[in-house]
Amino acid sequence: MSAVEVAAVEEEDDLRRVIDDDGKVISGASVPKISDEQLHKLFDTMLMVRIIDDRMMRIQRQGKLGFYMKSLGEEATHLSVFPLRDDDWVYPSYREQGAWFWRGLTIEQFLNQLFGNKHDPTKGRQMPVHHSANWLNCVSISSPVGTQIPQAVGTAMGMKASGTDQVAMTFFGEGTSSTGEFHVGMNFAGVSKAPCVFVIRNNGWAISTGTEKQTAAKSFASKAVGYGMPGIRVDGNDILAVIQVANEAVARARRGEGPTLIECVTYRVEGHSSSDDPSVYRNPAEPEAWGPRDPLNRLRGYLKGKRLWTEGMEKDISDRYNDEISKYLKLAEEHGEPDVETLFDDVYQDLPWHLKEQKEYLLSQARTKNPHLHN
């Protein structure tokens, strides 16, 4: 996707939009009903993601954190979870921090996971940004992309079979639409009319691979045709449009009318992850061109228009999160890694004989220092 095409996106008429780059409601657009309080909470969450992303990447660069993935510019897409109830389920990919915070993950839990420490809710088992929170019905993230798609459908099939009106939502990047798992998941959902909402974050890039090398289809949303479900394309940097489209899809699923595919058109402003260097493969003019479409700024503009924003308020939020992050960061670094015994837990419900033997053996050995611990 080149800078030139960025402009083009704006004019495409199948792209659902509510506000323009300044946050002004586009003439003729219908605005989803969102209370002032909720608008504040949306702004708060998006800002928080931005702050925590920035802080985490900085400490990663300092060598204090093993790995990190930002989602700068994509924060609005996370809030596709807006219409979900607590008893609905989410199968995220690795780039939807905002969805976790919206559902209730605390900064403390978030940081403990990043550090894989003693208090990590997932016991230090996975790399940073691979959260899991069964108390929030947010399912364990997997690195292999796309595997969550048929799983989310299975959960939705289970919801349907159980006679509930729950909904499952799953997130993934546009690159992930090329996997076999995408296809089989979408197809199962179409056939079973599972109450599942699929959110593609089309951020233009899969590591170094641009969308034109990912598909020859006109859009990612158009892939819905092959599964007999609606496919909707929405400006993923327009939080109001994102919520409007998500509202419709979730309501449809809840009414028993089946799945929906949503393509959020957005942009990965920075590198793929802390391991990436986009300057090798991407023209720096491209992220710049997306500057004016920044989703946080657009929401800010909208709030200003409704007199719901002040500089002071933003500063308060910032300070509050920065303090909280500093506090829990310090703790997260101090907690230390999980006890060595826990290495063998949760492989099975109970320890079989061979793991008992291996555990005894490991405990009989000298402890190995973690070469990555910096405290």
Binding site: P150, V153, M157, V347, Y348, Q349
Partner: protein, 324 residues
């Protein structure tokens, strides 16, 4: 007590479980109205309805992926993979997802999926209707692997698998689906996982196998007995975790052993059994443990009868351990 074959025993176990546990869902290709290509789910669609016995689209990754999503949500899915040769499109879901779900979520998300799939050769199925890929799953921490050799165990171990919370690959030896018959109680019972069974006692050579090869080692033991050699016959039944105690005890006692399986020899499960036994019984072993396994070729069609281990070859191996 009624007599059943393995298909009937599996069908019976599924019917009992579907009735007892409303969260159970059977899903797979052709498992519904047709009742499965081997008819293992016959009648269940009519009895429990299409919401609980689901004919899926043709996609193993979808079958297992959906089963995982159901299990994580709290259902008790029982997916069928039509032939274990067709399990590989779902390999990522099984190995990277199902096996690791509980662990990677720090115990938050157990994933009790019991995958049923026919395994092994002997039906003239060639490359793709004959494979025995159990070793791949045994090497994958987080999975349990079960292969029964008779109707009684098939029913009891399937019910046991359905009543514990770890993922299980339940492999059904298709060669003896109908050939293996025996008395099977109508009622609900379980056979404990992780326990081998000493099928025949003997004090010279221990023969170890599982699934369809159990009858082969039994036949070999009978032939050996005719020429005055006493063999102990062990049916492993559960491959992960396997019953190290029973085999260690037997091999320590006899000092000689033969390990038999259909899967290709190299890096097969036999290698693990042998190595584990050497580690524990070295001092008692009078000869190297003999392996009688499938050859390291794709499973052939016309020469299947030359490919599969048979009683004569096992007998040859028995002699070899004695003459060593």
């Amino acid at each position: 007590m009624p007599t059943m074959n393995i298909i009937q025993a599996v069908n019976n176990a599924l019917r009992i479980q579907m009735a007892a546990e409303p969260k159970s869902i059977i899903l797979g290709e052709d498992v519904g109205k047709f009742g499965g290509v081997f008819r293992a789910t016959s009648g269940l669609y009519d009895e429990f309805g299409e919401e609980r016995v689901i004919d899926t689209p043709l996609a193993e990754a979808g079958i297992i992926g959906a089963a995982i999503g159901m299990a994580v949500y709290g259902m008790r899915p029982i997916p069928e993979i039509q032939f274990s040769d067709f399990i590989f499109p779902a390999f990522d879901q099984i190995v990277n997802e199902l096996a690791k779900f509980r662990y990677r979520s720090g115990g938050q998300y157990p994933c009790p999926v019991v995958i049923r799939t026919p395994v092994g050769g002997g039906i003239r199925g060639g490359h793709y209707h004959s494979q025995s890929p159990e070793a791949l799953f045994i090497h994958t921490p987080g999975l349990k692997v079960v292969i029964p050799s008779n109707p009684y165990d098939a029913k009891g171990m399937l019910l046991a698998s359905l009543r514990q919370d770890d993922p299980v690959l339940f492999m059904e030896p298709k060669k003896i689906y109908r050939a293996s018959r025996g008395e099977v109680p109508e009622e609900d019972y379980t056979v404990e996982l992780g326990k081998a069974k000493v099928v025949r006692e003997g004090n010279q050579v221990t023969l170890i196998a599982y699934g369809a090869m159990v009858s082969v080692i039994e036949e070999a033991a009978a032939k050996a007995a005719e020429i005055g050699i006493s063999c102990e016959v062990i049916d492993l039944r559960t491959l992960m975790p396997f019953d190290i105690e029973t085999i260690t005890e037997s091999v320590s006692k006899n000092g000689r052993a033969v390990m038999v399986h259909e899967a290709p020899q190299t890096c097969g499960f036999g290698a693990e059994v042998c190595t584990s036994l050497y580690e524990r019984c070295m001092a008692h072993l009078e000869a190297p443990i003999q392996r009688v396994c499938g050859f390291d070729t794709p499973f052939p069609y016309s020469l299947e009868h030359e490919y599969l281990p048979n009683a004569d070859r096992v007998l040859g191996a028995i002699r070899k351990t004695l003459e060593w």
